[in-house]
């Protein structure tokens, strides 16, 4: 598995630092636990979006669809299948993963034929329609939403519910790690090159004999699987699944995915991670200090990102300081 190897010492040290941070944070800052869990969710959002958006050039505005499917599938399994809490949770996550992947595969046949902004708007429509349909479906609670089961209490204290904060943190952090390694491995194989070929010129890629349709469907399904799992976990973190504001929240989660990837630099491995962290921090700061005006600030922030950093932070850095990225620049004498 040579593509998994960490050969670059700098990258190794970044990862070591991140891993230490990830493991230590919940112990040092227990009061920030849920924000940290949401931070890893944002990282998953950005990384999975970038698989098709950045690497393959298919800018989806509707990936939140798979997140929502995952949230509903996971919590439905937990509520209805009759397992004990922990088994139910694990089965729920697995069911969410599979269901989201299958849906992506089926939808992909029609949707991935669309290109450019038609794909973007078409997926946006899918996301919104899914929210409306979920809101009309009585079996999954319709507009009343679904409440996830309470985390079980440790019987000793006579509490009515336990604090599952740690439990959800480790699952979400674990998922972020899986996402990162899957992306990293993927982009180092021929498959990653094929994705980039589709992005750069789909017709030529096809002419060269690449099975573009299957590649596109596979990539979309893979990101859908990961998003489905994220949905099942996040459904428990949030505790209440509203069809339009939590599960299929196109105007928040759906757009943030895209923004975070663009902010960091789409089409890179570290860009989405960086973008997610910066975006989440900025947002938390806006929410804390700009009560009532935070979304005005967010709107301005979004406009400035796309107007001034269309290539993202990493992209702009790469253009300005190519040497840092291993690109050797010959000085003209």
């Amino acid at each position: 598995m040579s593509f998994l190897a960490l050969k670059n010492p700098r990258e190794a040290s970044v990862m070591a630092a991140l891993t230490v941070g990830m493991v230590m944070a919940p112990f040092f800052f227990p009061q920030l636990l849920q924000q940290l869990t949401m931070l890893w969710l944002m990282v998953v959002f950005a990384l999975t979006w970038d698989m098709t958006g950045g690497q393959m050039g298919y800018n989806s505005f509707g990936n939140v669809l798979f997140f929502g499917i995952g949230a509903y599938a996971g919590v439905m399994v937990q509520r209805e299948a009759g397992f004990d809490y922990h088994t139910g949770f694990v089965v729920g996550v697995l069911a969410a993963t599979v269901l989201a992947g299958v849906v992506a595969m089926v939808l992909g046949i029609g949707m991935l034929g669309l290109r450019g902004h038609y794909f973007a708007i078409g997926t946006l429509g899918l996301g919104i329609a899914a929210g409306e349909l979920a809101g009309a479906w009585d079996l999954i609670g319709a507009g009343s939403g679904l409440t996830s089961p309470l985390y079980p209490a440790d019987a000793a204290h006579g509490r009515s519910a336990g604090d599952g904060g740690q439990f959800f943190y480790w699952w979400m952090a674990g998922l972020a790690v899986v996402c990162f390694w899957v992306s990293r491995a993927l982009y180092r194989t021929r498959f990653g090159l094929a994705l980039n070929a589709i992005r750069d010129d789909e017709d030529k890629a096809e002419a060269l004999g690449l099975p573009t349709t299957s590649i596109k469907i596979f990539a979309w399904s893979l990101s859908a699987c990961l998003l489905g799992a994220a949905g099942a976990i996040a459904g428990n973190v949030i505790g209440f699944i509203d069809p339009k504001d939590v599960a299929f929240a196109g105007a928040t989660f759906g757009v943030w995915m895209v923004l975070m990837a663009i902010l960091g630099g789409k089409g890179t491995l570290w860009g989405p991670v960086l973008g997610a962290v910066i975006f989440h921090l900025t947002q938390e700061l806006f929410w804390t200090y700009l009560l009532g005006w935070q979304r005005v600030a967010l709107g301005l922030f979004i406009i400035s990102i796309v107007v001034f950093f269309p290539e993202g932070i990493l992209g702009s850095l790469r253009t300005r300081f190519p040497a840092l990225f291993g690109v050797r620049v010959e000085e003209r004498s």
């Binding site: 670059n8 700098r10 990258e11 970044v14 630092a17 991140l18 009061q31 920030l32 636990l33 849920q34 924000q35 029609g110 949707m111 034929g113 290109r115 450019g116 708007i121 078409g122 429509g125 899918l126 919104i128 329609a129 409306e132 809101g135 009309a136 319709a142 507009g143 009343s144 939403g145 409440t147 996830s148 309470l150 509490r159 009515s160 519910a161 973190v237 949030i238 209440f240 509203d242 504001d245 929240a249 928040t252 570290w270 960086l274 962290v277 929410w287 009560l291 009532g292 005006w293 935070q294 709107g299 979004i302 406009i303 990102i305 796309v306 107007v307 932070i313 990493l314 840092l324 990225f325």
Partner: protein, 703 residues
Amino acid sequence: MRSGIYQILMSIWAALLFMGAGIPAAQAKVEGETIYLGAAVSLTGKYSTNGELTRRGYDMAVEKINQNGGVLVNEVPYQLAVVYYDDESTPARGTQLAERLILQDGVRFMLGPYSSGLTKAMAPITERHQVPMVEANGASLSLFQNDYRYLFAVLSTTEQYLTSAVDFMDQQGKAASDVKVAMAFENDPFSQDVRAGVLEALGKLGMQIVVDDKLPPELDDMSSTLTKVKVTQPDLLLISGHARGAALAVRQLDEMQIDVPMVALTHCDAAQIIRKFGARAENILCAAQWASSLTYQDELFGSASDFALAYEAQYDEPPAYQVAESAAAVMIYADAFARANSFDPTAVRDALSATVLETFYGPVTFDAAGKNIAKPMVLMQVQDGAYRVVYPPAAAEAALRYEGKVGEDAQLSYFGVGADLVLNGMMIGAVFALAALGMALVWGVLNIINIAQGEFVMLGGFVALTAVSLGVPLMLTVPLAALVMFCVGWAVYRLVIFRIIERDLFVSLLATFGLSILFQQLANQVFGSDVRTLETGLATLNFAGGALSISAVKLVAFVLAILIGVALWAFLSRSRLGQAIRATAQNARAARILGIDTDKVYAATFGLNAALCGAAGSLVVMAWAVHPYIGLPYTVRSFLIVVVAGVGNVAGVVAAGLGLGAAENVAGFLFGAEMQIAFVFILMVGVLVWRNWRLQRRREYLK
């Protein structure tokens, strides 16, 4: 991967740690002599009007209690204070804020948010941390079926909201099995639980349900549901959809000339139906938690009417019941602290559950599930331009006015109903067409898809409203809105759009999305999230003996929209600037070579687009309603229309717009209102995939 990124990541990590350290953990439940209560209320988003009322209620009670010497615990007088956050009306945010209040701000006593949905989201968190939450605005019965031990509600739960109207109907002498009931409930936790309560009551009495629609929360036009009501001619109509639903229902019932003997709504006082609609609201029944005419009283505020006076003195409007119940929640806490004589959350919880308190808002006693079982729900009727309590009998100020059905059920033909649906749909379709024309222009000329299109429509509506409130005659509002929006569009071009014009389409999608959030929130901050309408005083026109009724204002809007479309076509094909615009659309470089200042053309086009939307918005506010969050459906509809009709096709865009409006209305009628918006989006995806499919056979794709 290299040191640059390494440094960035490390500094971010450091910032995160710093932020964590910077927030004082457990800043405390009780600090010095102040008790901190935590609350996440909706200051922005769809509930912001009611969120603000909630906050005012909390603040009034806190202020009053502090003035009266605070809360005495262990013989020390403590002051109260509330830590607020804005949950943006979304449950995802609500849970995070609940957690934050408890873990970071160290709050040990929570006040509820506004709405059942947000309470549903926050209750598991407070339960998980064993922190009591006294809430005043989450009435959903399902909240109290989860064995939560730390949740207490001062209000009556949803199953009581409209059942008293059903009882009234039952007392009117008509055999229950002959009574036809039509219901339309918003598709949210609150209204759906109200529906469950009503269903149970109807089932017991054996009344017939003839219409049972779920209204989507973002619905701006109820005409497909109301057409069903018109067809089925029920004896009783029940509608629940927060303030927006109430306002739309009153307006459109009158406009479509639907005469139902008994109409009962929720949230009428929050929607201010008397002030907005005057005589048209007469005889409507309104479910309320509280009314200022009730005889309850306490030592803090005095009587219910004293509370109303105190509120009016401060805010210059009569208090909606949301204010009263929120104030009561704070009083319950003060009482529980004093009795618990401790700040231990468990002790306070136990004191809360033992509450027996008389307040100006009504008596409060919690059952084992935590809901208040001592206070009955109130039913008011609009009589002679004022709310009069008609239920419960003990508190009734006036007798119910009920006239029963006048005359026989009119015979309606399928043709009449179909025509009604199609025509009403085409009226709103004309407005879609206007916005779509603008989008087609910008798309064709600047190669930008403007996501903020719907927000321009919304702003146009608010410009018209502001103009009328400043005394501009109604006739001039449409051109004025267009003019103002032209300037806004021009400014937006100069500030943002020109920077992204050469970039790929995706960048423009995101940048204009940013603009759309910006405009939404600015409108919310400036105008509030209320549903606003403009009364034109135009009558409703009847055709074919009442089978077909069209409000004159919709007809005017329709004609104006078509005229503007024709004028645009003439402008593009005849005038010099129009020719320059078309030339630029065909080939910008060639146009520049021929001496056309394309930058000016771009600015003019974008301004023109905004002007079209502005005109559309001013028509929307006259014939339907606007609020800060109506934008997105208009944007997506515009896009759908342009995709179907093609970018350079004025007549096609108009035809597709009219068709879409009609199709939507018919779909809402056939599949239920909850499918109306889903239908539009599925249709859009279907059209895209289908058109692409056909091209793919020729190895091409949509460009």
